[in-house]
């Protein structure tokens, strides 16, 4: 492959501009870090750190950056379709942009944001010192970042995938998508997916085995419960993605016939495999958000969560049903009335446990004492807007009616009405809520609230018109349309909404800047007067989390201890065993990143030695004797004194 073809995407002014933007931004960041001599500090304190809190912060940082990339892609799409026959983007670039928008937002924004908050909060909520496998946790992060980097590099070198985030065969096959563009899709998801699978295993083990003494199943905070279920889903759903992507790679790069049009291949097999993973994936990003809403609504109503048991049960039922509904993504492929009927029923049934949760949240507020903080606003905004997403979901679940909604903007509106008020509002609620746990100050409430309103207004103005456009025959993924369709006014409205939405997201960044400069520093580890154990320790949290692991006797132990004036940390401080930091996950991921990069370009003579190096990294890990280190009791006591002195 000649260099000219390799860099041919750069011939497009728009892409050249973006590339220059990424380059300038990247150089500015690198120059800044170099100027302030922060490289060693970053490497020692973050890149090689196995501390779950720092890994969580890195995940969230990357998620925010990718949110902006995905957001700009969304804005470009809305700009292109704002007026009929627009010429901002041509068909191929529009196709690339909606493909990467989908992949980015689900896998490189929602997932890392969820996993980031999980990392920050879960070990603290269950009173643990770290996750079960701290180094694996760091490896998960770096593998995720490598996958993310691959997708972003594709924009500049070789071209981005352009067959939609679902990449249906035969379209995504080598016959209709020649070249390497869609190899990027397979490998970027593959490598990030393996990282996520490791996270799943890690957190299942952590939550089941490492809870504080006395924290029995029905005393686990709701966010942790939701994440336990989420991670179980990850563990059982992601291997399906792994297999699907391997088959895709084999078909595209080695001429196998799984999804081929000849020799017995079956194109819809891909769609089935994709959605067997893809539908649970939706619940992977939504259940933790449900958990966050449970925490936030209880905290800011100053009341315990209503119907705790049914909250847990409903999530378990949702997780089971999530594996039994995948075929509703292609009712229109012509399976009979029976199959469509069964999948309609299972799909609609999901509304029942979801409704139970909705009513429990509402009843939690009854007799409460509601304060309208930024996280609470997101939780309150979630209820009315998500319900629209939910009821349109039931409408889509009806197979017959879906024959008219399928592949239209109605569907696009529906899943944005689920994912934005559900996942995004949940994550933003969690982000504002746990920010003072990550750092020792709160984000500015005023800017936070203005941001919330801009996002709510912008979101509805952007997406509500799409319900109507869909019913008027507007298919999704169309880069342009003619005047005569009559879509123009609503499409323009949608574009205006998108501008407001982007401004709302921009205010989040401004809030970080503003709050770093002006927000008062917390003197107390519990700024919200909250209920669960993460608030029992200091902010920012010391490396060892808890000087003395708290003993738990009931749900919301910390809340009742506060009320009764009990000290959760009574006892003698002992030496604390902690895992060592390690550079291996970073460097192993770099090697694997190079490996996949050359694999994408079919350069197997380079892939083989890199694969050997990867095995050597594993061997190194196997032979390494790493007993971790101890923080001595007197050091812990000193830290505790210092932290308390701050109070």
């Amino acid at each position: 492959m000649t260099l000219e073809i390799l860099f041919s995407p750069l011939k497009e002014p728009l892409i050249l501009g973006t590339a220059i933007g990424i380059l300038v931004g990247g150089i500015a960041m690198i120059a800044g870090i170099t100027y302030f001599k922060k490289w060693t500090w970053l490497y020692k304190n973050y890149f090689t750190s196995v501390d779950h809190k720092k890994i969580g912060i890195m995940y969230i940082f990357v998620a925010l950056i990718m949110l902006f990339k995905g957001g700009i892609e969304a804005l470009l799409m809305r700009a292109q379709t704002a007026v009929p026959q627009n010429k901002i983007l041509d068909s191929n670039h529009y196709n690339e942009i909606f493909t990467t928008h989908g992949v980015l937002m689900i896998l490189f924004v929602a997932m890392p944001f969820v996993i980031g908050l999980m990392n920050v909060a879960i070990p603290l909520q269950i009173g643990a010192r770290d996750v079960a496998f701290p180094r694996l946790n760091l490896l998960s992060f770096w593998l995720f970042l490598v996958g993310c980097a691959l997708l972003n590099i594709s924009f500049i070198i070789g071209g981005s995938p352009n067959a939609g985030w679902t990449s249906y065969f035969p379209l995504a096959g080598i016959e209709f998508s020649p070249g390497i563009q869609n190899n990027y899709y397979a490998w970027s998801l593959q490598i990030a997916g393996i990282g996520t699978l490791a996270t799943g295993i890690n957190f299942v083990t952590t939550i089941i085995k490492m809870r504080a003494p006395g924290m029995t199943w029905m005393k686990i905070p709701m966010f942790t419960w939701s994440c336990l279920i989420t991670n179980v889903i990850i563990t059982f759903a992601f291997p399906v993605l792994t297999v699907a992507l391997v088959l895709m790679t084999l078909d595209r790069q080695f001429g196998t016939k799984f999804f081929a049009m000849t020799d017995g291949g079956m194109d819809m097999l891909w769609a089935n495999l994709f959605w067997v993973w893809g539908h649970p994936e939706v619940y992977i990003v939504i259940l933790p958000a449900f958990g966050i809403f449970s925490e936030v609504i209880a905290t800011f109503s100053r009341k315990n969560l209503f119907g705790y048991g049914s909250m847990v049960a409903s999530m378990v039922i949702i997780s089971l049903l999530s594996f039994m509904v995948w075929a509703h993504h292609f009712y229109t492929m012509g399976h009979g009335v029976l199959v469509n009927g069964v999948f309609s029923v299972t799909t609609m049934l999901i509304a029942v446990p979801t409704g139970v949760k909705m009513f429990n949240w509402l009843l939690t507020m009854r007799h409460g004492r509601i304060t309208f903080t930024t996280p609470m606003l997101y939780a309150l905004g979630f209820i009315p807007i998500f319900t629209i997403g939910g009821v349109t979901g039931v409408m889509l679940a009806m197979a017959s009616a879906d024959y008219q909604y399928h592949n239209t903007l109605f569907l696009v509106a529906h899943f944005h009405y689920v994912l934005i008020p559900g996942t995004v509002f949940g994550l933003l609620a969690g982000y504002h809520y746990w920010w003072p746990k990550m750092f020792n100050f709160r984000l500015n409430e005023k800017i936070g609230k203005v941001g919330f309103w801009m996002i709510v207004v912008g979101f509805n103005v952007t997406f509500f018109p799409m319900f109507i456009l869909g019913l008027n025959g507007a298919a999704r993924r169309m880069y342009t349309y003619s005047e005569s369709t009559g879509y123009a006014p609503l499409q323009m409205l949608s574009f205006i909404g998108a501008l407001v939405l982007v401004a709302g997201f921009a205010s989040l960044v401004y809030n970080i800047y503003y709050s770093i400069r002006y927000a008062p520093r917390e003197t107390n580890g519990d700024p919200w007067d909250a209920r669960s154990l993460e608030w029992a320790t200091h902010s920012p949290v010391p490396e060892y989390n808890f000087a003395i692991v708290p003993q738990v006797s009931q749900l919301d132990e910390f809340w009742y201890a506060k009320k009764e004036g009990r000290d959760l940390h009574a006892g003698k401080i002992e030496d604390i065993h902690m895992p060592n930091n390690s550079g291996a996950p970073l460097w192993m991921s770099v090697v694997m990143g190079l490996l996949t990069f050359f694999f994408i370009f079919n350069q197997f003579m380079i892939v083989i030695p890199l694969a050997v190096i990867t095995l050597l990294f594993m061997a190194y890990r196997s032979f390494e004797i790493d007993e971790g280190h101890h923080i001595h009791a007197h050091e812990v006591e000193e830290t505790e004194r210092r932290m308390r002195g701050d109070r």
């Binding site: 100053r302 492929m333 039931v394």
Partner: protein, 310 residues
């Protein structure tokens, strides 16, 4: 503030309806029995869902109005409430009833639109093969022996059976005012039953993304009286060229083309794949033949076609 929160979607909805003008939305403006069933289903589900939305909105409004901190007095301390079994049973059972109701509606209507539409007496369905290739539609009329590209003529007041398949990527055949969608795929045949009650031009398209020319993969279905349809067939038969294999191969190449008509179909030299149901039979067929190696699909397809021609 919270009022704004509640009214936001409603305002957006009103605004959108106003902006979209008075023209009825395509999906809710059916011109045949299939689309009409779907339109009624959709309207029924919208009404049901509106009730649910209303309940949730009223509850939310009630909670926010009555239990905000500023109303509760400085020393109010919320009580501990574990749950309420009666309430929990109510909000589990009622949704289950709603879901059951909608399930029945779904199965009934799905079955209805998947069958030959009723109410047209003993009229036999007109069979039209609609096949997709990058980025166009080919309509073959086996009985009449004619073929068109990117437009189809159908008689009104008669059941029509579109048999769909694809020469490449998956496409979704959609004429919103006549019927819901169905995929056209390379390795099996799918069917759409519909009928048009009114004369007119109905816009249709492929709604499933399939590459660069996707946005342009549109077609028109024109419904006319049987008499006009017959004379159109006669016209095409008399004045249009035959569709040769060479010409057809040229047509199949990825491109966006205009309309054209031919006085013969491609089915003779490039038969359609098997029906989904027949394929199930074919699986058994291969099984019984196991050991003899051949399960050549095309051969089987030819048999199928012969049967059809009879």
């Amino acid at each position: 503030m919270r009022k704004k929160l509640l009214t936001m979607p409603i305002v957006a909805a009103l605004l959108a309806i106003v902006l979209s003008g008075c023209e009825p939305l395509m999906v809710l403006n059916p011109k045949g029995p299939n689309a009409e069933t779907l339109s009624n289903t959709i309207i029924l589900s919208i009404i049901t869902m509106a009730v649910i939305l209303l309940v949730v909105y009223l509850l939310l409004f009630f909670m926010l109005k009555n239990y905000r901190a500023s109303k509760m007095g400085a020393d109010y301390e919320p009580p501990h409430e574990a749950g309420n079994h009666k309430l929990e049973i109510i909000w589990t059972v009622i949704p289950i009833l709603i879901v059951s109701f909608l399930s029945v509606v779904t199965i009934y209507t799905t079955d209805k639109v998947e069958k030959k539409p009723e109410g047209y007496g003993n009229k036999e369905a007109l069979v039209i093969y609609a096949s997709s290739s990058e980025w166009k539609w080919h309509f073959s009329y086996p009985e009449e022996g004619i073929e068109t590209v990117n437009y189809a003529m159908i008689p009104t007041d008669r059941p029509i059976e579109f048999r769909l398949y694809s020469f490449g990527t998956i496409a979704s055949f959609w004429v919103p005012q006549l019927a819901g969608q169905k995929y056209a795929m390379a390795d099996m045949l799918t069917t759409i039953h519909l009928a048009a009650d009114h004369e007119g031009d109905y816009w249709g398209r492929n709604s499933n993304f399939n590459g660069e020319g996707f946005a342009d993969q549109e077609f028109t279905v024109t419904a006319t009286k049987q008499k006009d349809f017959d004379s159109w067939v006669k016209d095409v038969k008399a004045s249009e060229p035959a569709l040769t294999e060479k010409e057809f191969d040229k047509l199949l190449k990825p491109s966006v083309v205009g309309r054209s008509s031919y006085s013969s179909t491609h089915l003779s030299f490039s038969p359609a794949p098997m029906d989904h149901k027949d394929m199930m039979k074919a699986d058994k067929y291969t099984e019984s033949k196991k050991g003899s190696k051949t399960s050549d699909q095309t051969e089987h397809d030819m048999d199928d076609m012969d049967e059809m021609d009879k």
